[in-house]
Symmetry: C2
Subunit: 64 residues, 2 copies
């Protein structure tokens, strides 16, 4: 199974976990990012997808 | 192993494979996206990461 932990990275490089076990990450019509975990949990944040490290099961967001 | 096929999605929704078996996707200093596959192959494109569908091992880019 390929899912990832999604972290928000601030300007100092500090990583904060937003949601774990995420499958879907997609933009919403109002400029946010929706994350959906493999358990169906959802979170919305105003951010953009910055980078991925899939071998470590990580996706990084940066604030808008 | 968690890697993904990276597709560029145009305005009509057409998906074009850019690089398969990708592990790292990261921004470059000059505003491009660098992709690195699990085999070490690299590609650069002027785009941003739009969305992910990790259970299908897919990441979607949109042109800048």
């Amino acid at each position: 199974m390929c899912e990832a932990a999604v972290f928000m990275v601030d300007d100092s490089g500090k990583e904060d976990l937003v949601l774990g076990e995420v499958d879907l990450i997609e933009p919403t019509d109002d400029g946010q990012i929706r994350m959906v975990s493999i358990f169906g949990e959802q979170k919305l944040v105003r951010a953009r997808i910055k980078s991925t490290n899939l071998s470590e099961h990580k996706v990084f967001l940066s604030p808008m």
